[in-house]
């Protein structure tokens, strides 16, 4: 009896979470579709975003994301590999590194925004630019990405490491051809978390990539990210709600698309590692 009750309780929890998600998505979908049209994607915003489209904002968002991912991915993988494979001899330093990463993962994004503004925009002289914004986001997604990849690498059975050693594989080759492909699901998860967090980020970008809604010509131009646009429309622009919903719809679709793309790229890459070379 108690068991059955417990089972119901748990499935009730699951149903609640799923229905909440469906509610949010349904709301965005229903309200967003009303304002959405294909030209919405390809025109410039007019009247503070109430009419017109989001073309420059989409381009800026993609710029910022690419810069963030290109910076964070290799760096993050490097740190993760070091922590799980090479840090054994330096316990103290690697422990400090882990704690630092965990603390950084919990730092609110506005703090990254202020740091990015002080360091990239002012100290390095990048100003309000897509580059400042992308680098700030890279810093922001690094900790979670590193820790996810590291735990994925650690979870790889030691038999595999020994097997590689027994076959006389160099350590670098073992990591490249065996460990990283084996940790693929974790790397994928880290990527999904990173992309989600970066695409939906507002606070860190207001002070770094900025508010300008013109089509960016170079990564040194200021550009408004999609999340900043949605925030502005719903908070500062009277009568901007319907455009905000349509932009939110685009944002949700964009995150799904980017995650699918990232996963397939990852799959592609690892297949080569394992089978071709």
């Amino acid at each position: 009896m108690v068991d059955r009750l417990f089972g119901w309780l748990m499935s009730g929890c699951a149903a609640l979470v799923v229905s909440l998600l469906l509610w949010v998505l349904g709301d965005v979908l229903i309200e967003g579709v009303a304002h959405f049209s294909w030209s919405f994607l390809f025109t410039e915003p007019e009247d503070s975003g109430r009419s017109g489209g989001i073309a420059p904002i989409l381009v800026s968002t993609l710029w910022i994301l690419s810069i963030a991912l290109v910076t964070a991915l290799p760096l993050g993988l490097g740190v993760a590999v070091w922590l799980s494979e090479f840090a054994a001899g330096r316990r103290r330093f690697s422990d400090i590194a882990r704690v630092t990463l965990d603390i950084l993962a919990g730092v609110p994004s506005i703090v990254y925004g202020l740091f990015g503004n002080a360091f990239f925009s002012i100290y390095l002289g990048l100003g309000f630019s897509l580059l400042s914004g992308g680098l700030t986001l890279a810093l922001m997604i690094l900790p979670v990405f590193v820790r996810t990849c590291e735990s994925g690498l650690r979870a790889v059975n030691d038999e595999w490491r020994r097997g590689a050693l027994a076959l006389g594989m160099a350590r670098s080759a073992a990591i490249w051809h065996i460990l990283l492909p084996a940790a693929r699901p974790a790397i994928g998860a880290g990527l999904v978390l990173g992309i989600g967090r970066a695409t939906a980020e507002t606070a860190a970008l207001v002070f770094t990539s900025g508010y300008v809604d013109r089509m960016p010509e170079s990564p040194l131009d200021s550009g408004r990210a999609l999340a900043v646009h949605i925030y502005d429309l719903s908070m500062n622009v009277t009568g901007g709600d319907s455009a905000a919903y349509a932009s939110a719809l685009v944002l949700v679709v964009l995150i799904v698309l980017l995650n699918t793309l990232a996963q397939s790229l990852l799959e592609d890459w690892f297949k080569r590692r394992v089978f071709v070379s």
Binding site: I67, V70, F128, L131, D213, S218, N236, T238, L265, D268
Partner: protein, 269 residues
């Protein structure tokens, strides 16, 4: 597919480093109040279209950021959604628009006017029923703005209140949220930007702007100075503006942007 992707990213990086050396022509940077930013962005677009080659970058972050950035020379012009304080006399302000703040209630509430004392009484929790101010027997739901909002600062200053004295049932963020709360609660009272409230009233949202001390809250009365409870929207600079900054401020104060100011639900001075 992977190779194409990597090449694209490399190309982006090269472009990024190449443009570092690019010289910039007529550029102007503005930072500050998020209330003013959407308005100035539209003004800037019109200015740019009349001055080819000129680039005006508008950034937000709040009024105090605008003041800070102007002082540090990080921005040419700051946007400040209030009058300058005594400690800010090193800057000069140029009024571009006003934003009136009106008391709103639910549409079905029969009360048409409140005195300043009654509003203070309601917000400090001494008056709890609409009956006490000439309305029907209905408990009052007080809606206040969250800490840090400039409308809250203005409200407290106007009625000489401290935020700790206010006894609110609902605390909200922006104007839109205030309007949604008031339209959903029959006994609610709140305060929002008049332009926003007028827009919502005309679009069928069940809210109503009510008079204060007999002053009727309309955009027109704000413009003519017949409604006291309003805030200034200013552009501020450190020294006497020259060149492009001077031109832009003059443009933002001219009749050429009146329609933009009205489209953003503010009042041209």
């Amino acid at each position: 597919m992977l190779r194409i992707f990597i090449r694209l990213l490399l190309l982006m990086y090269v472009l990024a480093s190449a443009s570092v050396v690019q010289a910039s022509g007529g550029r102007l940077t503005l930072t500050g109040s998020s209330t003013i930013a959407p308005l100035i962005l539209e003004v800037a677009k019109r200015f740019e279209s009349q001055h080819p080659g000129v680039r005006i970058n508008v950034q937000t972050g709040g009024s105090s950021r605008g003041i800070n950035d102007v002082r540090l020379g990080l921005a040419d012009i700051g946007m400040v959604s209030r009058a300058l304080k005594a400690s800010e006399k090193d800057l000069s302000a140029y009024l571009i628009a006003r934003d009136g703040i009106g008391i709103i209630t639910h549409k079905n509430n029969p009360v048409r006017n409140l005195t300043g004392d009654q509003i203070v009484g309601i917000y400090s929790g001494k008056i709890r029923n609409w009956e006490e101010v000439g309305g029907s027997n209905l408990p009052i739901t007080v809606i206040n703005k969250a800490e840090g909002r400039s409308t809250l600062e203005l409200f407290l200053q106007h009625f000489s209140l401290r935020n700790s004295q206010i006894n609110a049932q609902v605390v909200i963020g922006d104007n839109q949220q205030g309007i949604k709360s008031v339209s959903a609660i029959a006994g609610a009272i709140g305060y929002v930007s008049i332009g926003t409230a007028e827009y919502e009233e005309n679009h069928g949202t069940p809210i109503k702007l009510i008079s204060m001390e007999g002053e009727i809250p309309t955009s027109e009365n704000v413009a003519k100075g017949r409604y006291q409870f309003s805030r200034q929207l200013n552009l501020v600079v450190r020294n006497t503006p020259v060149g492009l900054a001077k031109e832009f401020i003059a443009f933002a104060q001219s009749d050429a942007v009146k329609d933009i100011i009205e489209a953003q639900f503010f009042v041209a001075p």
